[in-house]
């Protein structure tokens, strides 16, 4: 009996290991992406950008605050549509400890400055000239917004346009206590 139990346990363990290996591989292959490092719940990669006014913004320095990281380009129409809402919500949350940083996809300063003036964006806008923040966050389609909690973990990643209601709701959820 003892031997039989041992045998069942051994076989069970081997089969379980194989099943886990298969599950992991199949999941990885079918979702096609490498198992993402940047995902909801994970630590947001630290970065530093310089905004149009020459001020440095480093994610680490915003610990204790919620951060919305918005990746955009001047040619991107959904970006253009969500900026007015984002600007309004930025003022609404200004005293509640939620910061918005907009990161542009390596365009010229001329284009970005003209665009920002036109749109009346009040939050800091930086140009990622070497696309290194884009790369670190594996950004695909624009716009992509990353909501980072006060403890530095990612709350959610939104690809595509957001309504003002959603923006307010998501910003509320990363507001410090």
């Amino acid at each position: 009996m003892e031997k039989k139990r041992k045998r069942s346990v051994t076989r069970g363990i081997i089969l379980a290991i194989l099943a886990i290996a298969i599950g992991y591989t199949v999941y990885g292959a079918v979702t096609k992406d490498k198992l993402e490092v940047v995902k909801a719940g994970a630590q947001a990669p630290d970065f530093e950008v310089v905004d149009l006014n020459g001020e440095k913004h480093r994610l680490k320095d915003y610990e204790g605050k919620g951060v919305v990281l918005n990746f955009w380009g001047t040619w991107c129409e959904p970006c253009e549509r969500e900026f007015p809402a984002m600007t309004r919500q930025y003022s609404a949350f200004a005293n509640k400890g939620v910061q918005i940083i907009a990161v542009n996809f390596a365009q010229s300063e001329f284009e970005v400055k003209k665009y920002v003036a036109n749109m009346g964006m009040t939050f800091p806008v930086a140009i990622d000239k070497t696309k290194s923040v884009f790369t670190a966050y594996s950004i695909g389609p624009l716009p992509t917004s990353i909501f980072i909690k006060p403890d530095g973990t990612i709350d959610r990643i939104i690809t595509g346009e957001m309504s003002e209601e959603k923006i307010a709701q998501y910003m509320e959820s990363i507001k410090p206590e």
């Binding site: 194989l18 298969i22 990885g28 040619w75």
Partner: protein
């Protein structure tokens, strides 16, 4: 669990064919055979031993050779179906709708079905992955199930075997030695040792063995395969495998995707062609120029220690390199390959500020599209202000010019020209082959003078830490094949009875010819009677009876 009790008193597990102690046949089937079935040494295959719980049932399914072979065939068929049409991976369109259209346009109804069934992306489909992995599981379980009992029985071999075991070996001989009867075993032992056999002696019995390790060839081979599969699976684990592509314009510096902390600058892209007159195949295929070299001259930079993404100042130069096809830039296990290129993207546009009437130029304005300025001052006090820049002008929306992308495919500008005659400025919208003057008729215009272009390199970033593991897997696989193919496991059992009679039996898993040569040497030196190959004599009998039948 049932137990089979052998006449020698040894308890054998259910499913055993030959007693694990003395070698007597245990099943009726085995007893009826003239020659013993030596596969897996007559041990009980594990999966045959128990078949009760669900775990045992799954285990038995994968350990079955029939299931294994079926899986191999199914895998082969499935993999070959994926080669009928090119996979989606090789079709350079982006969206699903475009892919569908591509397959139906290019391959007709067959392509439509092929796409609809998902065969166009077969290798990353769920079912194909599962099939391959099931084969892997089958290999692992079948190896454990057969390898372990085999190893145990090879390790615990008895020197002295039962008479019926000896008699039922393919090669057998019995009789009195022709001379030196009392020294037969010593002579045999010495001869076999000279033949490089491992000889064990117990009382009046000898077991001589050679090349036992060759029995493990198949299992070593399977270990190699399993390592290979593991290495392929590791591609999915972050940090083991990177396969990224990057477009880099001349003069541009970018973070390298997948290679954290490194930046690459494209100094120059070079396309060289042969300057020969078309000849031979070239004419047949209508090709005028043949490419000689695709090259990107790059500089690799590294960020400072502890720097985070976005901190691109103070980059430290690592090295300069000329990347050519098959000559990648290599650094710390990463390789950057030349993959693609695009020629002549607009970089700088030059305009003449021209008086319309006389075509007289007040001077030139050169606009770097990667870094346009707010205003351009000319020597004679004239000034051109840039009010707007649209790299890929796509039309007006509510009177505002729009850009479709960030790439300068169709650059458009809004200029404000301040000249001595018109110090307050004249506004003009200038696109390629299109000029709009919102304030009516201007005195001056921005006349397109020339353009500077630059090239763009498509590079591929590769990093594969699984290659050593793949190589190890492949080597182990080949070692297994070689061991199993070029060596064989030969065994000779000798026993001398009280009256001097010698019994000899021999077995090998392959190459009976070589075995017999050894036995001939043994016979000569130890004076053992001539052996009989029972399989051959059996066949001969068959042949003879058939002949008899015919003649009768």
């Amino acid at each position: 669990m049932n137990i089979i009790l052998c006449e020698c008193g040894h308890e054998n597990p259910e499913g055993t064919n030959l007693c694990q102690k003395c070698g007597s046949p245990l099943t009726l089937e085995e007893k009826s055979k003239k020659i013993a079935d030596m596969r897996y040494e007559g041990t009980a295959i594990r999966s045959k031993t128990y078949n009760k719980s669900i775990i045992d049932k799954i285990w038995n399914f994968f350990s079955s050779v029939k299931v294994g072979i079926s899986l191999i065939i199914i895998n082969l068929v499935a993999a070959s179906i994926g080669t009928i049409l090119p996979q989606e991976f090789y079709v350079s369109v982006a969206t699903d709708a475009e892919k569908e259209k591509y397959y139906s346009d290019v391959y007709g109804w067959f392509g439509e079905i092929y796409y609809a069934l998902g065969l166009s992306d077969l290798y990353s489909s769920l079912w194909f992955q599962i099939l391959v992995l099931m084969l892997g599981v089958s290999i692992i379980i079948a190896s454990i199930d057969r390898g372990i009992p085999l190893h145990k029985s090879l390790k615990n071999q008895r020197v002295k075997r039962h008479t019926s075991f000896m008699k039922r070996q393919r090669i057998y001989s019995e009789g009195k030695p022709s001379e030196n009867t009392d020294q037969t075993l010593q002579l045999a032992e010495q001869t076999l040792k000279n033949l490089k056999y491992n000889v064990r002696r117990e009382d009046d019995a000898i077991l001589a063995e050679r090349g036992r390790f060759s029995r493990y060839g198949a299992y070593i081979n399977h270990v190699g395969l399993i390592i290979f599969i593991i290495a392929v699976m590791l591609h999915l684990v972050p940090g083991f495998y990177v396969d990224e592509s990057i477009w880099l314009r001349e003069g541009e510096t970018r973070a390298i995707p997948g290679m954290d902390g490194y930046f690459l600058k494209n100094d120059q892209f070079i396309l060289e062609t042969y300057d020969n007159d078309p000849q031979g195949e070239q004419i047949k295929q209508g090709i005028n120029v043949v490419a000689k070299n695709y090259q990107t001259d790059v500089t690799l930079y590294k960020q400072q220690e502890n720097a985070v993404p976005g901190q691109a100042e103070d980059l430290e130069e690592v090295k300069q390199f000329n990347i050519r096809v098959n000559h990648p830039l290599k650094h710390e296990g990463y390789a950057v390959y030349q993959m693609d290129f695009r020629l002549n993207e607009i970089k700088t546009m030059v305009f003449d500020l021209t008086l319309k009437e006389t075509e007289e130029s007040l001077g030139q304005v050169s606009i770097d599209l990667t870094n346009p300025q707010d205003e351009y001052l000319l020597d004679n006090g004239a000034k051109v202000e840039l009010m707007g820049f649209y790299p890929d002008f796509s039309g007006f929306k509510e009177g505002v010019p729009q850009t479709a992308t960030q790439t300068p495919n169709n650059p458009a500008f809004i200029f404000k020209m301040s000249t001595p005659e018109k110090p307050e400025g004249e506004t003009s919208f200038v696109a390629i082959q299109q000029t709009l003057e919102p304030e009516g008729n201007n005195m001056y215009k921005m006349k397109f003078a020339n353009v500077e272009t630059r090239h763009m390199s498509g590079l591929m970033v590769r990093y594969d830490r699984t290659i050593p593991l793949l190589i190890v897997g492949a080597i182990i696989f080949m070692v297994g094949v070689v061991i199993g193919s070029y060596w064989n496991h030969r065994r000779i059992w000798i026993e001398q009875l009280e009256d001097g009679t010698v019994r000899l039996a021999a077995h090998t898993n392959k190459n009976w010819f070589g075995m017999k040569k050894d036995l001939d040497v043994l016979k000569k030196h130890a004076h053992i009677p001539q052996y009989v190959d029972q399989l051959e004599s059996e066949n001969n009998e068959h042949v003879e009876t058939e002949k008899d039948g015919k003649t009768l």
